[in-house]
């Protein structure tokens, strides 16, 4: 019985998520809906990872200005994220945020601070292609180590 209820509510949540999709880019929903809002912020981090990521893979020529722009985005977004996981936003909207975030908010926040600090440090230490290749991976590793604990698979 509980199982069926859970399934039904899961389907309803999925449906709600699908309905909410077109709203993702709307600034109004971003202000009122922390789930949509943090998805947009995560997307912007992923987007900023593209340029340096392609440079790391040798798929794009090294471009210091683009690297710095991406690092600035990381610094800025890492400071915004903690507030986007208020109590009450644990479920809904196809969120892939793990419930563990709310069980260990201090650790979660500390990881965001570290991400921002690593990006800031990289801004100072990256001056050319060699220092980029040496220092950038450390920034990117923050994504995986936080996602390992705090991100769950899509339904």
């Amino acid at each position: 019985m509980t199982k069926i209820n859970m399934k039904t509510s899961a389907v309803m949540l999925l449906a709600a998520g699908v309905l909410a999709l077109p709203l993702l880019s709307s600034p109004v929903s971003a202000q009122n809906d922390p789930i949509a809002s943090r998805k947009a912020v995560m997307k912007s981090v992923g987007g900023a990872m593209r340029d340096p990521g392609q440079m790391m893979r040798g798929q794009a020529p090294f471009d210091l200005a683009k690297v710095k722009a991406s690092l600035e985005t990381f610094v800025e977004t890492s400071g915004k994220m903690s507030a986007l996981y208020p109590k009450g936003s644990e479920t809904g909207g196809e969120t892939t945020a793990s419930p563990k975030i709310w069980e260990a908010k201090a650790d979660f926040d500390a990881r965001l601070v570290k991400f921002g600090a690593d990006a800031k440090e990289a801004l100072a230490s990256i001056t050319d292609e060699a220092s980029f290749k040496a220092n950038f991976p450390k920034v990117g590793q923050n994504c995986g180590s936080c996602h390992e604990i705090y991100r769950i698979e899509k339904k």
């Binding site: 999925l14 992923g46 987007g47 991976p137 994504c143 995986g144 991100r151 769950i152 698979e153 339904k155």
Partner: protein, 315 residues
């Protein structure tokens, strides 16, 4: 037939049934018919290869002591909630009492290939021995030697907490006849060295199919849908992705994309893996480029299978 004869016939049938069950589920019988009695002649342990297999096998992802950062501290204790109950991961450290420090090569090979403990009991397939069974003798000897170089962590882990009938360990003997193949990986002569290495790593130590495949009601992998994705076997609500070259899988990924993903955790869209896969990426990062490329080459060769993921219903 007299009543007495009927009764004796019934008792005889019950005894035969009990004897049959005993035989079918005995670890020793499986071992006699399908197992390997002696360790093949192998060279002295090669620690570097053992280390590679340690990371390829993802041992740390389950056996590392939870809530600490040292992935070489294999005290066990992680709880795996599943539909069958909660499994508790045992101590794999070199501790002679509580870990595997005192294990012989033969005991380790039998555990990995037949899923049987040194004291002759079945292991539950939460320990992916159906995949590890593909590992060769030399590789297993190397892996055990490497494990024995890791720190000893004292502490025996409590037994699993499973619901009946799954709590009845002996019954696993029947499961094994259905789900456990025998013998190490056989090289496919028509395929490249890289492909063979990938096929071995994916299906053997890497045990990718254990999460990335749907399972039947008995918890066995549905062979015809192998690697096409499946519900999270570790109790999460998510769906583990399809690894075949179907549109619902890796069709749009190049082999280079897959190799890069295994190294850094970033998808071609620069999304970053989460959950258990992030832990797998940490392991895969220790492999060489050639091994990661082998995995990619093999995965790209898989025939496309549609994901069995339940469709999202339209509102």
């Amino acid at each position: 037939m007299s009543k007495r004869q009927v009764l004796s016939a019934l008792v005889a049938a019950m005894l035969c049934g009990a004897a049959g069950f005993w035989l079918l589920t005995a670890p020793a019988v499986w071992h006699m018919l399908r197992g390997q009695t002696a360790v093949a002649k192998v060279s002295a342990p090669r620690l570097e290869n053992g280390q590679t297999l340690f990371w390829a096998g993802g041992c740390a992802s389950c056996h590392a002591t939870p809530d600490q950062d040292d992935r070489l501290r294999l005290g066990g204790g992680r709880a795996l909630p599943t539909p069958f109950g909660t499994f508790r991961v045992p101590n794999l450290s070199s501790d002679k009492q509580d870990g595997i420090g005192a294990w012989s090569e033969q005991a380790f090979i039998r555990a990995m290939r037949e899923g049987v403990s040194p004291d002759g009991r079945h292991y539950y397939p939460a320990f992916p021995f159906t995949s590890y069974a593909l590992m060769g003798d030399q590789d297993l000897v190397d892996l055990l030697a490497f494990l024995k170089t890791l720190p000893a962590v004292p502490g025996r882990i409590a037994d699993h907490d499973l619901a009946f009938p799954f709590s009845f360990r002996r019954g696993l003997g029947l499961w094994k006849w259905l789900n456990l193949g025998s013998g190490p990986y056989q090289t496919q002569t028509g395929q490249s060295e890289s492909w063979n290495r990938g096929a071995y790593l994916v299906n053997g130590p890497g045990h990718c199919a254990e999460c990335h495949s749907p399972r039947d009601v008995m918890g066995g992998i549905r062979t015809s849908l192998r690697l096409s994705g499946g519900p999270d076997p570790e109790g999460g609500a998510g769906y583990i992705p399809n690894l075949t070259s179907h549109d619902s899988g890796l069709a749009k990924w190049t082999a280079e994309d897959i190799a890069e993903f295994l190294k850094t955790g970033f998808t071609p869209d620069f999304d970053s893996a989460g959950g258990s896969m992030a832990s797998v990426i940490k392991n895969m990062g220790y492999l060489g480029d050639a091994d990661r490329m082998g995995i990619a080459t093999y995965l790209k060769s898989l025939p496309p299978l549609a994901s069995n993921k339940p469709a999202k219903k339209a509102p």
